[in-house]
Subunit: 192 residues, 4 copies
């Protein structure tokens, strides 16, 4: 089974998610700087979400580039990942309408954590399709960054009920960890 159409569908869904998020946030209620300033937190959350979807796309791009075949399990793991990413615009709207309360901020972490689990599952499914001793399996290795992200998200979900701004800071920290593209697979791609 070819990977081309999986990539095309994923690109489509991610391109739409990253673009329709902007439909979900309210414009400033006036045209003075005060009105604009009160929109800054949600615009910042939008930018963070844009970055997060961009990171998922970027890593997906690298991983699929190194893959040579996909099977049924890969398709379903990919759909699971896309499902959770598709909830990002929904959570952003909830955050915007309820002004950064604890539960919506925690939900944002849950959605990102589930998407990370989906990505991890997808990675496992792709590695399994290539064999445990394939270069892709070696390249993925122990996936320290992936496991660290999940641990941080789980911590942030709990912390958001204490102080939601700490949770937001952790979400930003996880994004910064991933800003650098996955050098393991990039190195693998170069060796190839």
């Amino acid at each position: 089974m070819g990977k081309g159409r999986l990539e095309a569908f994923t690109d489509g869904v991610m391109a739409i998610i990253i673009t329709i998020m902007v439909l979900e946030i309210k414009v400033p209620h006036g045209t003075d700087l005060a009105a604009f300033s009160s929109s800054l937190p949600i615009l910042f959350t939008y930018a963070l979400s844009f970055l997060n979807v961009g990171i998922f796309w970027n890593n997906h791009h690298h991983m699929l580039h190194a893959a040579t075949r996909v099977d049924g399990k890969v398709l379903w793991a990919n759909l699971f990942l896309l499902f959770w990413l598709s909830l990002i615009p929904f959570v952003i709207r909830w955050i915007d309408e309820t002004h950064f309360e604890a539960l919506p901020i925690a939900s944002y972490g849950i959605v990102l954590a589930m998407a990370s689990i989906g990505y991890h599952w997808l990675q496992q499914a792709i590695v399994a399709a290539h064999g445990g001793k394939s270069m892709l399996a070696v390249a993925v290795g122990r996936d320290v960054k992936g496991k660290l992200s999940m641990a941080l998200y789980i911590g942030a979900i709990g912390l958001s009920f204490l102080n939601q701004w700490i949770a937001l800071c952790i979400y930003v920290a996880v994004a910064l960890i991933w800003l650098v593209p996955d050098r393991r697979i990039e190195a693998f791609a170069k060796k190839e």
Copy 2:
């Protein structure tokens, strides 16, 4: 006529349908667990619809993968399928705004039943384009799952006026039947 652009257009439309559904559902009206709980039925319907579109995409992917040519009839059957799928977000919004009443739930079944008919028509058109004795015709066979789905949908449409939750359970059951990718065509693809 190449199948590439048909796949690309279908991927695009399905990717958009699966993603914009989330724009149609209302966020919880508060930030406590009670508000979130009252959103669970529509979130569940969203997840079911995401799964349904994912199943259609998955089967479409498998069928087109096995196809080698498309003609005008295939294009129109495909457009008919996409038309009914495009109404899923509309029905979800109706269900959400009217709180799971009988007619919207029945309409959800009608839309899925018409999409199934569209998929069946597309299958027939593709088989016809390849000849009645082609391996694709053999692989599709009697299409038991397709016919069973349509029968279940028609039953659910009627039952939704008795009890809409029974109808929803049947919609879930049909999705579970299809969760497994179409082994007939997958087997065919392997033989090839």
Copy 3:
């Protein structure tokens, strides 16, 4: 310059237009048959618009399939076509919110007429890129269907101020004329 990315961008835009139209129409205001019935005219307009965009996509598909090269003029003509198609969801919303008044119905005709002019311009630009004596030029011929459509649209625009339902009937008639894919170019593609 390759035609691949022009096709991909056009497929993307048309896939989005055909899918987001459904976001623009209001769901029935109740869950009884009376509420549903009052939504039938706009649902019918939605179906007609879906068909119209499908026809443009289908003809675009055929024409580009026969084309071997595109230039800057083709890109701009294509963008002009997409601009007018992108206004279809806007006009549908206007029709829905104002209940089928004369000016919105006339505007629907203006948008379709301008899109037809855009398609004609695109056709001219593609033929010009292939030379006046190319097989594509022969295949397009006098473009009777294209000119007839434009004449009918212009007539319908005027008539919609007399009776908007007559205008709608003409829009349906034009769609029916085009339902058959462009046999001229299909015949050309077969000869090739």
Copy 4:
């Protein structure tokens, strides 16, 4: 690393941006010519934005066509460009809801200026990936049009607090400068 998926993702995002802008503008509040006339400024802004995204797509198309490889920096520069383009629908909605006040019009210029900076950064990243003496580097040259656009946008941002219509005129002027596709790279593509 292949440029194909970068092009596909960019095409997807730009196709969505150019199409969903129409969801952001309000339809006329009536069906007479007066109601329609009062919508003309926002429809004009929509057309200008459609043209601007079209220009970015067109230039992106030309530049990537001439490119033979992309790296991580190109991916991030591209994402930065797409981020700012994705804010265009947001600013249009703000302009529409607040009736062409100074700050929203200035924000429109900021978004376009940041997108231009993103495009410039992308151009630099692509040239760097091909080497400073590559034909692509020669083709891009001193990028007079890019620098002129940025200067005009910065001027317009300041002027919009004096008179927002002057700023809008400058935005139109910049679009007209770019209407002609980038002949430098087109010439380069021909030489190749």
